[in-house]
């Protein structure tokens, strides 16, 4: 009888709920969307107002004679008219402009073809369109910042070393915390707070001297040692939480069936903890990979990738779209790992509270 209105009400409620969720999701990623979009814009587009919401896929050109040579114009979608961008007789200049400013690589012979068309066709103006190379900002970023590729590799190496150091040192303590009662257990627990109470920059600056003494200054291992200061304490927490999530009775069962403590750890505890430890490793990766401040302070000739992006940000008066491309390359591994980490949130944070 009154079944339909009820179902309708449910449907409406559900629709509103999902509309809300979508709105929320959109507003969270809106800034990221613009960063992504920016990384695909041509330099000319990225300095127009309003910024295009989406990058164009091709550009409409017109070519006509001028006193000095040729007038190259670009169709402006927003103003709905052609706008002259270049007045020159030099074809090379034209080609470079088309590539660097508009993002449409166009070789000189091709331009010559167009000019021949203009000269011989008896037309005042000729129109042509060129497809945009969407990835141009990305390739350019790696070309003009010559450090980019080695820096990327270095960043990977640093992140790897940080994971190695903090996970090996941190997970031992995490295991002790989860399984043993010992003096200083609470101090260990609060250490995650202590180490954060002192400004990281101040530590990083003094580390410069310590690292120099060790011969590690401006080397990947040096930064990894610095990053581990913050991440070990966190790893202790996370791994303690992971180990707490593994019932002790499982270990006891293994011992009852004849395993030594060490075998128990290798055959029972470790495999069970592995996903959680992997998540902890990824979490450490996020920190080491994205860190910039200590990297700026503690590198000289061997910057990390985040420093390279940072420098392009500072120098990027004319090239925000390149910085955006670099920033996104930097963001991609973090995003991938975040995607995996989300499944282990409870294991990582569920066991420990102050």
């Amino acid at each position: 009888m009154n079944k339909n209105p009820i179902k309708l009400g449910k449907l409406v409620r559900r629709t509103i709920f999902y509309l809300f969720i979508v709105t929320l999701a959109v507003s969270i990623i809106l800034p990221v969307f613009f960063l992504v979009s920016l990384s695909f814009l041509s330099t000319r587009e990225s300095y127009s107002f309003p910024l295009p919401l989406l990058p164009s896929l091709k550009t409409e050109y017109s070519l006509t004679h001028s006193d000095r040579g040729y007038l190259l114009s670009v169709y402006d979608k927003f103003d709905k008219e052609y706008q002259t961008v270049l007045d020159t007789a030099e074809l090379e200049k034209m080609s470079v402009y088309m590539k660097n400013q508009i993002g449409t690589p166009y070789s000189i012979p091709k331009i010559e073809e167009r000019i021949a068309e203009l000269e011989n066709g008896g037309k005042d103006t000729i129109f042509f369109s060129v497809r945009k190379n969407l990835l141009l900002n990305y390739t350019t970023f790696f070309q003009i910042t010559r450090d980019a590729v080695p820096a990327l590799l270095r960043s990977l190496q640093i992140a790897g070393l940080t994971i190695l150091i903090s996970l090996s040192i941190g997970s031992m303590a995490g295991y002790a915390f989860a399984r043993y009662v010992f003096a200083g257990r609470d101090v260990l627990k609060f250490s995650v707070l202590f180490v954060r109470m002192f400004p990281g920059v101040a530590i990083a600056l003094h580390m410069a001297i310590i690292l120099a003494n060790m011969g590690f200054y401006d080397k990947p291992i040096g930064l990894a040692l610095v990053y581990s200061v913050g991440s070990i304490a966190l790893t202790v927490w996370i791994t303690a939480s992971v180990f707490m999530g593994i019932p002790e009775s499982l270990e006891e069962a293994a011992q009852v069936f004849g395993a030594t403590k060490w075998q128990t750890f290798l055959r029972v505890t470790f495999p069970l903890a592995l996903p959680g430890l992997a998540a902890a490793a990824m979490y450490t990766f996020l920190g080491a990979w994205t860190e910039t401040v200590s990297a700026i302070l503690l590198t000289q000739f061997n910057p990390t990738f985040s420093v390279v992006v940072y420098q392009s940000l500072l120098g990027a008066v004319g090239n925000v779209n390149l910085t955006a491309a670099g920033g996104l390359v930097l963001a991609i591994p973090s995003l991938i790992f975040t995607f995996f980490i989300r499944k282990y949130i409870q294991q990582m944070w569920g066991g420990m509270t102050i």
């Binding site: 979009s37 910024l51 915390f177 994205t290 910039t292 920033g327």
Partner: protein, 303 residues
């Protein structure tokens, strides 16, 4: 019972030592790479450039005209951003914990800001907040901004800037707080909450009387971690508006170390600021833990 042989006693000692052996690397590591720098800073903060003992550095820091401004700015940012971030994070965590279809994907979306590197975030907001940036573009597309009109986000009053910084910081920090709260929520057995509904609670009463009290320790953890790092905010500010425009405490440390490293007093000021900041951070943390009842007054309920 046999009398304990030396071998057995040795073994006992060995097994007692296990936890200490396990935590030894952490202790050693922190001694070398944390405690030493801290100690050096502490000593430097009591020394003149020539190395003699002095209290002058602290006097300089505390009478520095920028100190009070930095303190005030930091306090405002901490107060509002931690509150805003906590409420936002709790809201998101409760929402995601409802486990609707698509909630795990939504969780990923909600975690994106925390995955983005600081520089990428700075690039994002810088390109957004300029007069020709995407924020104005968006407002224009939405019809909110008239043709030719621009909002100069980064210009104008300090308060506007503070507000912006709080919002931007919240955007990036909410996810890391949210995941801690979400983990805590997932630890509460579903039936404990459901019992609240069966026995007459509505959403608000169940949240107030059951969910929040059970989440208490988790909330403490999330808030204290956030509080400690919120007091040390500086990077996003410097990237957005540069040094000295909107002084905050840690920005002053970096300012003296990096921007004007060659003044006579640079090192003293920087060390002094660093110690003052740590002092403030630890006092605030202690106060928070005390007020929120993390010490002593633990309810017997804790299982």
């Amino acid at each position: 019972m046999t009398a304990s042989t030396p071998a057995k006693r040795f073994r006992d000692l060995g097994s007692k030592a296990v936890p200490y052996l396990l935590i030894a690397p952490v202790v050693i590591y922190y001694f070398f790479f944390w405690f030493r720098p801290v100690l050096v800073t502490l000593i430097k903060s009591f020394q003149t450039a020539a190395g003699a003992f002095t209290l002058q550095n602290y006097h300089m820091v505390l009478t520095d005209p920028d100190f009070l401004v930095a303190l005030r700015n930091t306090a405002i940012i901490v107060l509002f951003s931690v509150t805003l971030e906590f409420l936002g994070a709790l809201f998101l965590a409760l929402l995601i914990n409802r486990k609707f279809t698509g909630s795990t994907f939504f969780l990923f979306v909600a975690m994106i800001p925390m995955a983005l590197p600081g520089v990428a975030v700075a690039a994002m907001w810088l390109t957004g907040l300029t007069a020709h940036g995407w924020i104005n573009s968006l407002l224009y597309y939405l019809g909110i901004l008239a043709e030719g009109a621009k909002i100069y986000w980064l210009a104008g009053s300090e308060w506007k800037l503070l507000g912006l910084i709080i919002l931007i910081d919240a955007w990036q920090v909410i996810p890391s707080m949210m995941i801690i709260l979400l983990a805590g929520l997932q630890n509460i057995p579903e039936e404990t909450i459901e019992a609240g509904y069966v026995f007459g609670g509505n959403f608000i009463t169940v949240l107030r009387k059951i969910t929040m009290p059970l989440l208490g320790p988790t909330i403490q953890t999330a808030v204290i971690l956030r509080l400690i790092s919120a007091i040390q905010i500086w990077l996003i500010i410097v990237l957005l508006v540069g040094f000295s425009r909107m002084p905050v405490l840690v920005e002053r440390i970096v300012y003296y170390y990096k921007e004007v490293p060659n003044l006579d007093i640079s090192l003293q000021m920087a060390s002094g600021y660093a110690i003052v900041v740590s002092f403030i951070v630890s006092m605030v943390a202690l106060l928070y833990l005390k007020v929120s009842g993390a010490f002593g007054g633990k309810k017997e309920a804790a299982q």
